[in-house]
Symmetry: C2
Subunit: 299 residues, 2 copies
C-alpha cells in the first residue's frame, strides 16, 4: 500500500473520490488548476500537492484524472506540462472523466508507445455516488492495466466492469447517457399527455411501472416529476455535454442517433432558458411549455 497515487482534478466528483482513496490509506499527490482546492484537501490527510500534471506523474506510479471534458483531458494528459511528459515507463494513467472515445483511444496509443498504461474509466452515480464510494465504473483498456487499477476502483465504486479495449469505457458511458436522455424524454411525454388529458400523474407513473414501460428514471426521478422539484441531482448541462460527446462519437463511428440528437436540441433550448443547472428531469418543463399546461389554459 505505499504505492504512490496521483490525482488530478478535484471538482465536485474528483474531490470526494480522492478523499475516499486517502481514507483508505493511499498516499496521494494532488493537482488542481485552482491550487487552493488541492491544498485544502491535502491538509485533510497524508497528501502532497504538485504544481503541474507533469510533476504529479514524475512522483507517482498511477495517476487518476477526473476532469470536465475532452479538451481538459487532452491538455492534462498530452499537454506540455502534462502527464505523458512526466510519466515513467510502466506507470499507469486512469482517466475517469467522461470524455470522447476517439480521444481515449488516441491517448492510450500515445501512452503505449512510451511504455505507459492507460485506462478510460468513466463513472456514473453522480456526486452522491462519489461521496459514498458507490460509483459504477466502466473501464476500457488492457486486462493487465485494469487489474492494476482494480483496488483503487473498488475504493471509489461499487460496480466495477472491464468493458473492453481502450475507448470502450467512454463508448459505454455515451450509450448510457443516450438511454437516460431518451428515458427522461419518454416519461416527460407520457406525463405531459396524461396531465393535459386529465389523468393524475401519479396514476400514470404507477400504471406504467407494472409493465414493459417500466424504467429506472421513473423510479429515481419520481419525486422530481411529481413535485416539480428540479434541484439537481444530475445537472442538465452536464448531461448535455455527455450527449455532445455521444453525438461526436456517432459521427466518428458512422452511427445515426436521431433520438439522442433530438434530446440534445431540447436540452439546448432549456439551457437557453437558463435551466442548465436544473436537474435533467426538467426536460418535462420544455415538453409542457411546448404544449401549454392544463392549469394555464384553465386559468
Amino acid at each position: 500500500m505505499p504505492q504512490k497515487i496521483g490525482f488530478v482534478g478535484l471538482g465536485i466528483m474528483g474531490r470526494p473520490m480522492a478523499k475516499n482513496l486517502m481514507d483508505a490509506g493511499y498516499e496521494l499527490t494532488l493537482h488542481n488548476r485552482t491550487r487552493e482546492k488541492a491544498e485544502t484537501l491535502a491538509a485533510e490527510g497524508a497528501a502532497g500537492v504538485a504544481d503541474s500534471p507533469r510533476k504529479v506523474a514524475e512522483r507517482c506510479s498511477i495517476v487518476i484524472t477526473m476532469l470536465p471534458g475532452p479538451p481538459d483531458v487532452e491538455a492534462v494528459v498530452a499537454g506540455k506540462d502534462g502527464l505523458l511528459a512526466g510519466a515513467r515507463e510502466n506507470s499507469l494513467i486512469v482517466d475517469m472523466s467522461t470524455s470522447s472515445p476517439a480521444l481515449a483511444k488516441d491517448l492510450a496509443r500515445h501512452a503505449r508507445e512510451r511504455g505507459i498504461g492507460m485506462l478510460d474509466a468513466p463513472v456514473s452515480g453522480g456526486d452522491a455516488g462519489a461521496i459514498e464510494g458507490t460509483l459504477s465504473i466502466m473501464a476500457g483498456g488492457s486486462e493487465e492495466d485494469f487489474e492494476r487499477a482494480r483496488p483503487l476502483f473498488e475504493v471509489m465504486g461499487e460496480t466495477v466492469t472491464h468493458v473492453g479495449p481502450p475507448g470502450t469505457g467512454q463508448v459505454v458511458k455515451a450509450a448510457n447517457q443516450v438511454v437516460v436522455a431518451l428515458a427522461i424524454e419518454a416519461v416527460s411525454e407520457a406525463l405531459a399527455l396524461g396531465s393535459k388529458a386529465g389523468v393524475d400523474p401519479e396514476v400514470i407513473l404507477d400504471s406504467l411501472s407494472g409493465g414493459l414501460a417500466a424504467n429506472r428514471v421513473m423510479e429515481v426521478k419520481r419525486r422530481n416529476f411529481l413535485e416539480r422539484d428540479f434541484e439537481p441531482g444530475g445537472k442538465l448541462e452536464f448531461h448535455r455535454k455527455d450527449l455532445v460527446i455521444a453525438l461526436a462519437a456517432a459521427r466518428e463511428y458512422g452511427v445515426a442517433l436521431p433520438g439522442a440528437a433530438m434530446v440534445d436540441q431540447m436540452f439546448g433550448a432549456l439551457e437557453t432558458k437558463g435551466r442548465g443547472s436544473w436537474d435533467h428531469s426538467s426536460l418535462l418543463t420544455l415538453i409542457e411549455e411546448l404544449s401549454g399546461r392544463k392549469d394555464e389554459e384553465d386559468a
Copy 2:
C-alpha cells in the same frame, strides 16, 4: 354467476380472453365478424353465438369488446346494428380495445344518455398475457361501473387499475405505448453505437442495467436484440397503430410528443420495408441500416 356476458371480437387477444371467462363459469354470448370463429369457440363451452353486436346487447347485461382499433369500436358500439341499438338500460359496455381517448369519452357520453354504463379498459401484456389471464388492465369510467366489471377483469388480468373518468384508460395506454416506443429507440441507439465502436452488445446491456439507464425493454427484449430474433412478441404494426392513436390524442389535447412522432416515422419506414409483422424491437434494424453495420463495412 348466471349473469349473461357478451363478447364481441374474437381475434388473437379476444379469443383467449373470452375463453378464460368461459372457463371461469360465465355464460357467454359471442359475436365475431367472421362468424366461424365465434362458432368454433362456442363449441368449446357453454356459449351462444349472435348475428350482430345489437343482438349480443339484447341478450346480455355486460358486453365486452376487443377490436382492432377506433373505427371498429365506433361501428360495433354506435353503428346501426351496434351495441347501443340493442342495449337495455343499466347494462354495461366494456371496451377493452386500444382505441382513441376522445372516442372513448364520446361513446361513454352517448351511453350515459341512454342509461347505459361504459368503460374504456385497454390492456397490456400481449397474447401471452391474454392466454394466461395475466393482462394489465387500465380502466377509465365511473367507480360504480368499474366495480361491476371488476370480477371479469380479475379473470382476464393480474393488475387491474381504475385510472380515472371515461377516456383515461385509453390515455394511460397511449402514454404506456409512447414510453415503450422510446425505450426501444433508446436501447437500439445504444446498441448501434456500441457495436460499431467495437463493444460487445451483451456488455452494453449488462453495464446499462446497473444504473439510471435500466429499463424493462432491455430485460424483456434482451434475447431479441442479442440474437437478432424478431419473431413477435409485440408486432411493430400494432405498436404503430397505438402511436397513431397517441399522436391523434396529442393533437386533440394540444400536447407535443416529438419523441413519439419520431418513432412513429421510423416504424412507418420499417412497415415500408415489409417488417410490420416483426417484433417492435426490430427498430434496431432501422438504426443499424441508417448507420451501416460494422460487419458489412469490414466485409
